[in-house]
C-alpha cells in the first residue's frame, strides 16, 4: 500500500472531535463492523449552522483520519454548505489517500449526509436520497438507489451492505473504490 500522508498520520495520532454530543440535533451512523468500518457522527445545529460535530469510528487509519478531518470541515458550515462537502474534498483536505483507501472517504461523506438527513427529518423536512434538499426527481432517485443497493448486496453477498455507501447522487462520478 502507498504510504499515508503526514496529514493523515497527524489526524490518526491526534483525532479531533472524538466522542458523543450530549444532546445532538442530528446523528448519522453508516457502515458496519462486518465490512470493517463504521462511523457515527453527531451534529449540533444553531440557526441552520453546524456549531459542533463529534464522531466515533471503528475502522482503519484512513477511516479515523477521514472522520476527524470531516468534523473539522463541517463545524461552522450551514446545512447547504455542508451538503456540498464530497468524499473527494475530504480526501484532498488530508493531502490524498492511498487508492485502496478511497472508499474510506465515502464513509465520512455518507455519515455527514445521514446526520443532516436525521437533523432535517427532526425539523419536518426531508432530503431526497440523491442528497439534494429540493430535488424535483425524487422517484427516479429512489429507484436508482434501490438498483444500487441490489448490486451492492449481490457483490458482497449480504443484504445490509455498507449502510449508506450505496446512495446515489446526480452526476456522481466519485466511485467508492477510487482505485
Amino acid at each position: 500500500m502507498e504510504p499515508y500522508s503526514e496529514k493523515v498520520m497527524d489526524h490518526v495520532r491526534n483525532p479531533r472531535n472524538v466522542g458523543e454530543i450530549a444532546d445532538p440535533d442530528g446523528v448519522g451512523e453508516v457502515g458496519n463492523p462486518v465490512c470493517g468500518d463504521m462511523m457515527r457522527l453527531g451534529i449540533k445545529v444553531r440557526d441552520n449552522r453546524i456549531v459542533d460535530a463529534k464522531f466515533q469510528t471503528f475502522g482503519c487509519g484512513a477511516a479515523i483520519a477521514v472522520s476527524s478531518m470531516l468534523t473539522e470541515m463541517v463545524i461552522g458550515k450551514t446545512i447547504e454548505e455542508a451538503l456540498r462537502i464530497s468524499n473527494r474534498m475530504v480526501a484532498e483536505a488530508l493531502n490524498g489517500l492511498p487508492p485502496v483507501k478511497m472508499h474510506c472517504s465515502a464513509l465520512g461523506e455518507d455519515a455527514l449526509r445521514a446526520a443532516i438527513r436525521d437533523y432535517l427529518s427532526r425539523q419536518g423536512c426531508e432530503l431526497c436520497v440523491c442528497g439534494e434538499l429540493d430535488c424535483p426527481h425524487r422517484q427516479d432517485c429512489e429507484d436508482r438507489r434501490r438498483t444500487r443497493e441490489k448490486a451492492h448486496a449481490a457483490a458482497h453477498g449480504h443484504a445490509h451492505g455498507h449502510g449508506e455507501h450505496g446512495d446515489d447522487k446526480h452526476g456522481d462520478d466519485e466511485t467508492e473504490e477510487g482505485a
Binding site: 469510528t57 471503528f58 482503519c60 482505485a179
Partner: protein
Amino acid sequence: MKRIYLDHNATTPVDPEVLDAMLPFLREAYGNASSVHALGQEARRAVEQARERVAELIHADSSEIVFTSGGTEADNHALRGVMMSARDKAADSRAGASPHLVTSAIEHPAVLNTAQMLEKRGQAVTYVPVDGQARVDADAVVRALRPETRLVSIMLANNEVGTLQPVEAIARQARERGVLVHSDAVQALGRVPVDVRALGVDLLSISSHKIYGPKGVGALFIRKGVRVAPLIHGGHQERRRRGGTENVAGIVGFGRACELSGRMRAESAAREAALRDRLEVAILERIPHARVNGHPRERLPNTLNVAFRFVEGESLLINLDFEGIAVSTGSACSSGDLKPSHVLVAMGIAVEEAHGSLRFSLGRGTTAEEIETTIEALVKVVERVRGMSPMYRDFLKGREAAAGAR
C-alpha cells in the same frame, strides 16, 4: 526512538555474519557460476557449498535443492511443475478427468493464487477446510484424494496464526496412494525442525529472508526421482531445473543463514516461546475482550495472533507504530477489498473480530524488556482506540443498562 520489531513472520533482519559472507560476492568475487575461468569457479564453489548447507538443515541431499528467487517462486514451481507437466500415461489411464490438486483453505497466497490459476485452466482443486484452531484434518485430506489427484500441498506452519499442520501423517497416506506431496515450509523453517525425510514429502518450499538471510532467494526441495517441469526456462543452471544466472551473493547468504539456523534454532525457539507466552498471558490478563487465534500448543514458538473486539487492526497497528512497535494485522483495510484474512475467516472467526486481529511474531533479537514495553503500550493503545469505537461505546452502555435493570 528505540524500535521494537515484532514482525519476524513478515521478514527478519539479515544476520551480520550472513552479510559478511555475502559481501565478497558483491565485490571482488563477481564471477558467473557458469563460467569456466577461476572467477566463475570460485562462484560455483560458493554456490555448491551453500547448497550443501541448505540441504543439511532440512536433511536433504544437495542434489535435491533447487535455488529460486524465494518462497513464492518455489511454491509456483512445485504446483505448476507438477500440475502442468505433460500428463503421464498412468494418470491418463486412471481417469479421463483433469489433474486434481488437494490443498487447504489457509495456504499462503503463493499457493492459493497458483491453485486458482490452475482452476481457471480447467484443473480441479479441492480446498480442505480447517478447524477453529486452523488445523487441517489429515483424514479430510486423504478423503479428498481421487484417482486423478496428482499433488497434495499443505503448509507446514501457517504464517498468520502459527498453527502447525500434520504434514507427516498426510504425506504418509498420500504417498501410499501414489500422490506427490508438497509442503510450504517457508514460515516453519528456522522456528521448528524441518526434516524432509521424517516428513516424507516430495517437494518443500523454503525462503532465506525468514531465517535472517537476504531477500530474493529461496529453494525448492525436489526429492530424487520426482519429475517436476521447470517454471523458469533458460540456461542449464540448477541442473536444467531453473534457468537464470545464479544469485551468488544471495545464495551464499542463504547458505550461511541455514548454517546459523542449524546452530541457533533450538535455543532461540525456546527463548522466543517463553517470551511469547509471557506476552500472551499478559494480554489476556490485562486487556478484556481479547482472544488468541490459533492452536494453543501446536503452534510456531514465536507467533501470537490476538483478536481485540470492538477495534480495527490497522488503527491498532498504526498506534503501536507511533510507539515504535512493529506488528502486523489480518484486517481487511490494507488489502483493498473488504474481506479480512482468509485464514481467520476459514477458522470460523467472526468477520468483525477478524478485523481486529494483530499478529506478534518474535525473533532472535527480541528481549524480555521489549516484551514488557510492548505490553504496556498495547494496554494503552487498545484502550485509546476502543475509546473511539462506537461499538465499544454501545457495548458499555448495554452493560450499564443491564446492570441498572437488575
